[in-house]
Structures are given as structure tokens and as C-alpha cells.
Symmetry: C2
Subunit: 480 residues, 2 copies
């Protein structure tokens, strides 16, 4: 580990300024709709430079406190009412169980790409949020500049310039990784699949958070593994005591976990929480399969460190992709498998042989010259803004007593409706209105989350979305 | 099955003409180096049209009997001496055994893409044999015409226009397939991987030909399956009696087979042989995983029918890709899983989720407008010619008593040297001369083929290749 990257530094001036303005908003001194002082005026008022004010305002914007209106200035955004409570944590579950095949998952995902449905179901941002024009230009240039690339087998597990870019970004995030220990995969899906096969064999048990991404459950099922679900809070992440209990009482071969902006809860573990989780894993000598696919989508100024940053003995298999941030359709992901590197490499060879180099090079060129950081800033802002708008609309239209998660990153919400609502029934009803949803039942192997729903907020706001949310709310209310 | 497509038709005139000329060559009336009569003269001589003669000459060229020399005419090619015997068939093997991890396979494949080695090892044609310029243009156009494609998730298992093209081609080959029963995969590797997982679970036994493609053995090993090897002849394919014995005496969950131009032998089963093989599979109720990746690379005028053409009850999982014919780096393959369709679809979802649509569309557009058939004709000619040149050079340089396969399609040769030669040792020695080979030991889980070698002939002929073959031959002779 490189010490200088991980040591805490004193907060810069603009962060201090942003914090003090946040307080004014929280206290109600600056109220929703109020215009912030102009940059110049604030600079004089606080005796700081213009650029410090600009940085502070951008930070407030990233965090969702204010919004910029062109030619007008920065305005305080409407906040969620204080009484919108967050969803509750599940009770612990002890016995490992096999995962049943879930036809609903297939249905939700198939409809996700059907343009005639409102796509609340899958966690896919709208294509307009990605720099597809620029990507298409780079893709064309890659083919034009070396068309022989298209005739060469991609047999090794990674395109070197791409893995260097990925490793460089992890270094910046406080997680140094040797670039040649990365295996490039077909999206995060293949990374997770290979990682699971590297650590567990059929009949083995793995642990997951609950609620958890249904793709985890499907992959676990496809490999004939058993699963133990560990309660996870909507804000702080996996419960450490329950984790310790689960590892102590079961022969668990791996923990599959999303420490930064989990899907569906949106929880993000603190650094301390991650460190403690790692210690528990080390104590019981259990590897972790970390899905970090939402890690770059933080609303705060700092990208959360992956769990892998604490990994001193190669037990964390870090999996991620560009699917949520840059190019879902290119299906370029990666795995940093730690001590399982050789095993994952061999499994990659027999599973898909290689990842198309033309796509790896397209992404690598984008990372180097395409303004990836600028793009990330803009989608973070967009996702944050959309989560706000969705939350407000849900509060307006959904049954009284509905709880909504308040994630600090990503683009999904976890919604807990009153116990009388059955979201499986709601899903069927909503399909008739051409609305596709992801009912809570998908997110557990147990009879849980029957009144819950995961909401894809990666959709540009508009009347259609508001109308669909209203319809959903009305259908839910009818059940009560 | 569509009867009209499979019923035998009387041979057209040009085929008759080609046959009579073949006889003249075989009898020595037309000898190597002789010029064929000009097209006009032959047309008058035989009283057929100019176009019939042209078709006949092209057919002779495709079959390797003659070669065209620009501005000069068609010349009879040098034939292999009659005394170059073909390799022998292995003796049967009864007991199933697990496959050991083979580091050599990884080495051979890694070096296959290292430009500093002569790539005799992997079965990869040289990139100059593929229409990479045209592919790059189409790829660029696909991105330009609809850049939003790059921002859309590829969640369903296939891009419809591509599967229609694939199905259309199988129909032409006498194997009607509903296009919506095709799953598009990451190359043939993923197709084989998914097919195997659909039919067998860890501990189960599958049967393969011997010698067999080492990728099969690696995939089988990665899934903790056991294997039974069935003797296969270098010309006619898998031995039916041995197949029947193997299925009768073992609980075999699937047969993995390459009925058309197998890798490494190059054998192609006759229609009758395929039909009988299918009957045996049906009798013992065993599915077949058919690798058809070389099927389009026939030197004769007719594309061999896949085994799938006889499949009346969905027990054949047909796997293939464009990797050997059009675009190895794009990694677009497919599986027609018959009765296992739903299982393969679900496994695809948890393994790689989807196949990049931009690549599927590029290939689909090429198939529709890029002159794929024209391209196929030209690489078939090239492969055929190269096999000839390689065979002759091997006869010149390799130890006396060397046997060489004589495939009617594909681009690999199977070489059996005298028993005193150890090709593993030869492999190590050759690496010092920057020559990468695929020793026979890779192609079986048993101690077999120690004096055998698979040769990649998908390389444009030149002095470097000749020199490398000479070096290989000298190294082998030194062992005797």
C-alpha cells in the first residue's frame, strides 16, 4: 500500500466553504429555491478566491444541495421531507439454502430492453446518459488506424493499455493494484461468474447481503451453490455481527458483497466498516467477491475506497465494469482476483477465451483522451438529481408509510411500501400499463421483501416518468 | 426437414467436366506443371459453354487440382506423392478419467499471439486472410449510423438480423433451423462451455473423439467432468462401433464431436456416417455437442451438412462461430441448443449476460452486403493451397516415415512422426528457435500421440515458413 495516498489530509478551503453552506441549507437559512450569492460576491464575502467558490459550488451541486441554472446562478434544490423514513434491515437468516430458478428475473431483464415498456425494472441507465457519439468515433478510429486488429485472435486475458488505465484509477482511489493482475472480462457478469467458480464448487455455500442483486442469486444458482443471506442496512451496509455469526456457524466459501453503493439498497460502508469487514474475513479465512460496479458513481467528493484497498493477502476478488459509467453495450469488465489470479485466467480461457480487443482499445482510448472524468462528473450529477426527483415523486404518489432509501451514489432506490402491498401483484398489474418493475421478491431466496421494489432512476426525468410513477402508486394504493 | 434441399440432384455439367479432368490428372495424362487447355478451346473441344468451363476450372482450383496463374491460365498442381501415408487411428480406451490441468496449453496459446514466434501452435489463420479493412469500415458505419447502440444494454441472447442470416446459411447447407432458437455467444468457446453445462454436472462423464481439440479437454476439466476418448480415423471420423461400445458401457452425458473437418485430424464424416452416428446417439438417448466451426471451409463444392441436420428430437447442441472464417477478434459465435434452449439462455445470462450488439451487427451487415460467399471461396482456396505447400515441405524436411493427414477442409494438418520422435521435447527445442508448436500430448488425456504434432497451416506461404519447417524437421531427425 502507498501510504501517502491513504493518509487523511486536512480538508481544502472549498470543502470547508461547501460544508458551511450545507449547514445553512440544513438549518433553513438558505431555503429551496433560494439563489446562492454570485461567485464574485461570495468570494468577497468569505475572502476566498473565485476558483475556491466555484469548486465549492460544484461540490454542492455534485452532492445535490444546489442546482446550476444557465445564465442565472446556483439555486438551493428542494430537499426530501425529513419524515421520509429509510427502509428497514432484514432479520438474520441462518441456514444455507439452494436458489430456485427465477423466471421472473428473466422476464424483468428481457423487458428491460423492450422500448415499449417504461424501464423501471433493470438497473440500466438510459443510453442518452452515455457519450455514445464519442465512443462511436473512437471505435471507428480504432478500426481505421489498425484494421488488422480485427483479424487477430484475442487470446491473452487483457489488453495491456486498458489494464494500465484501470490500475491507475484504482491507485487514485487509494487501492494500488498491479495492472498485470487484472483479467479483462465480458462485463462484470463474467468477472463475478469466474470469481465464484474460482473459490467455490457445486454444493458449497456462499454468503450474500440481503437484499442482494438478483444477478448474484442467479449466478449462484447456475453453479449449484447454496446461499446464506446476511442482513444489510440501507445506509451502513452489511451487518458485521451477523457476518461474524454467519462465518462462525457455516462453512462459507466466499462472501459476495457490494461495499460501495450496493444494489439494491444503495448502502455504502465507511472505511472503518470495510476495514473491520476485512478483518472478519481474514479471521475466518474467507475470500470476498467484491462487486465495485457503482464505486465511481459517488455524489460526495471522494470516491469510496474498494474493500480491496485493505486486502493484504489476496483474498478479495475485485470485480467491476464500465457498464454503469461509460458503455453498457461494449461489455468490458475486469477482475482483480488476488491469489486466485491463475485460476481465474484459466477459467476465462475455457469460458470465453478472450475479450474483443477492439472494444478494450476503444475504452482504453476513451479513458486516455475522451474526458472520462468530466463525463463521470456529469453523470454523477445527473444520477443524483434524478434520485431526488424520483424520491419526491414517489413520496407524492405512493401509499402513505412508504419508505425510501437515500443512497449517496448510484442510481437505484429501494422502496418499502406498507405491508399490505404485494409488489409481485403490482408488477403484473403494472405490466398491463407497459411499466416494468423489479419486485422485492427477486432480491432474496427467502420469502422476503414482498412489499419492496427496486427503482431504476437512471432515466432522464419527464412527464412520462412522472405519469408512470403516479400509475404505480395508484395501483399500489388499490391493494390497501 | 425440407425434402427438396436434401434430395440428391443430378450433377451439373461443370461438375461432370471437372470430374473427367480430375481423372486425366490422376491417370497422369495431365501432369503437374501442365497447362490446361484455354477456356475457349476447352469449350469447343467438349461442346459446352464458356461459363461451364470456367465453373469447372474454378471447382478444380477449389479442390486443389489446379492453380490459376494470372494472365497465363490454369496449371496442374504438384500432387502429394502416393507414398505419404495418413496417420493411424488410436486404440479404444474404456475407463472414464478426469482431465489434468495442462500448463502447456496455456503456453501454446499465449505464444500464439506473440509475433516473435512462428505460430505453428494455435489454429489461428494469419490476419491477412480476413477482410479486416472491410470489417473496420462496417464497424465504423454501424457506430456512425446508430451511436445509441453503444449505450444500450445487450440483455437478450441474440441480435435478430444476425441469427436470421445464420439460419439462412444453415438452410442452404441442408440444415433448417428456426432463427429464434439460436443463442449468440462470445465465440465458439462460450457456446461449447454453455452447452456442456446444460447437459452435464460435475462428476459426470462426456465422450470425445481422440485425438481431440485441447480446448474441449480444458473446458471439460474446468467443469470437473470426466472424459472417455473414442478412436477417430483421420479421414472418416469417429469410429461408430467404438462409439456404441462407449455409450453402452459408460453413463455418458454427451458426446463432443467435430463431424466436419475435425481439429486436429481434419476428418469429415460422410452423410451416411453422420446419420448412423445420430441413430446411435438416439438409441442410447445421449445428446451431442457438435463443433461445426470448420464446416464452411470445405475444399469440395458442397458444404458438408452438420450432424444437426439429422436431429429430429433436439438432442444436438450445434456450436460454431465466425472465428475461423471471418473475424477471430470479434468473438461472435452461436449455439443452437435444441431441447436445451432455455437452459443455455439462462446460463448465458449468468455467464456473460449478452454479446456486444455492435459486433453482432457488424457481422450481420457483412453477411448481408460484404460478399461473405466470395470471401469464403477465396479463403477456402487459400487454405487448400497452403495445406498442399505445407504437406510437401513436411515431406521434404521431416524424418522418413512421417505420416500426414489429408483433410478436405480446414487449415490444420496432423502429423505422425516415427515412434522415436518425442514432440514435447521437439516443442521445447523449437521454442529456442522461436517456433511455437502444438505437440500431440495436448490432444488426449492419456499418454498418447507422443510422436504427433498438429500444424497450423493458416499462414501465407513464404521463405520464413519453409525455413521454420526445415528447422523443425532437423530437430526431429536429431532425436532419431
Amino acid at each position: 500500500m502507498i501510504q501517502t495516498l491513504t493518509a487523511p489530509a486536512p480538508a481544502p478551503l472549498y470543502v470547508e466553504l461547501a460544508r458551511s453552506l450545507e449547514q445553512l441549507i440544513e438549518q433553513g437559512t438558505l431555503r429551496p429555491g433560494h439563489r446562492l450569492p454570485s461567485v464574485r460576491r461570495m468570494s468577497l464575502q468569505r475572502d476566498v478566491s473565485i476558483s475556491t467558490v466555484l469548486q465549492a459550488y460544484t461540490l454542492l451541486e455534485n452532492r445535490g444541495w444546489v442546482e446550476a441554472r444557465p445564465q442565472s446562478g446556483y439555486y438551493v434544490r428542494p430537499r426530501l421531507p425529513m419524515h421520509a423514513p429509510e427502509p428497514r434491515m432484514a432479520r438474520p437468516m441462518a441456514k444455507p439454502s439452494y436458489v430456485g430458478v427465477n423466471d421472473l428475473t428473466a422476464e424483468v431483464l428481457t423487458l428491460a430492453t423492450d422500448p415499449s415498456y417504461v424501464p423501471f425494472g433493470a438497473a440500466c441507465p438510459h443510453h442518452s446518459l452515455f457519450p455514445t457519439k464519442k465512443l462511436a468515433r473512437i471505435l471507428a478510429a480504432v478500426g481505421r488506424n489498425d484494421h488488422t486488429l480485427l483479424g487477430r485472435y484475442a487470446m491473452s486475458s487483457a489488453y495491456d493499455p486498458l489494464t494500465r488505465e484501470i490500475a491507475r484509477r484504482y491507485l487514485q482511489a487509494g487501492c494500488p493494484l498491479p495492472h498485470d493482475e487484472l483479467v479483462v472480462t465480458i462485463g462484470c457478469a463474467e468477472a463475478l461468474h469466474l470469481a465464484l467458480r474460482a473459490v467455490a464448487k457445486p454444493g458449497d455455500t456462499v454468503a450474500v447481503e440481503t437484499p442482494t442483486y438478483f444477478g448474484f442469486l442467479e449466478t449462484i444458482q447456475s453453479l449449484n451453490l447454496r446461499v446464506v443471506e446476511i442482513p444489510t442496512g440501507p445506509r451502513t451496509g452489511i451487518c458485521l455481527d451477523a457476518t461474524r455469526d454467519a462465518l462462525a456457524n457455516n462453512d462459507i466459501k466466499a462472501l459476495m458483497v457490494m461495499p460501495s453503493y450496493s444494489n439494491p439498497l444503495g448502502s455504502c460502508m465507511s472505511d472503518e466498516h470495510k476495514e473491520n469487514l476485512y478483518k472478519i474475513l481474514a479471521e475466518f479465512d474467507v475470500p470476498a467477491i467484491e462487486d465495485d460496479v457503482y464505486g465511481d458513481l459517488h455524489f460526495g467528493e471522494r470516491r469510496p475506497k474498494p474493500l480491496k484497498a485493505w486486502d493484504t493477502d489476496g483474498r478479495v476478488l475485485l470485480c467491476s465494469s464500465f457498464g454503469k459509467t461509460l458503455a453498457p453495450s461494449l461489455r468490458v469488465g475486469w477482475c482483480a482476483p488476488g491469489r486466485y489470479l491463475e485460476r481465474v485466467r484459466r477459467l476465462k480461457f475455457t469460458t470465453t477465451l478472450g475479450t474483443p480487443v477492439v472494444l478494450q482499445k476503444t475504452i482504453s482510448d476513451f479513458l486516455r483522451n475522451g474526458g472520462y472524468d468530466h463525463h463521470l462528473r456529469s453523470i454523477r450529477r445527473a444520477y443524483h438529481h434524478q434520485l431526488h426527483l424520483f424520491s419526491q415523486a414517489i413520496l407524492r404518489h405512493f401509499p402513505e408509510g412508504t419508505r425510501i432509501s437515500r443512497p449517496d451514489g448510484g442510481f437505484v432506490l429501494w422502496i418499502e411500501m406498507p405491508p399490505g402491498v404485494d409488489t409481485l401483484r403490482l408488477h403484473r398489474d403494472a405490466l398491463k400499463h407497459k411499466i416494468n418493475t423489479a419486485p422485492g421478491a427477486l432480491f432474496s431466496v427467502k420469502d422476503r421483501y414482498k412489499n419492496c421494489l427496486r427503482m431504476n432512476c437512471g432515466l432522464p426525468w419527464g412527464e412520462l416518468i412522472e405519469a408512470a410513477l403516479k400509475t404505480l402508486g395508484e395501483l399500489a394504493k388499490k391493494q390497501l
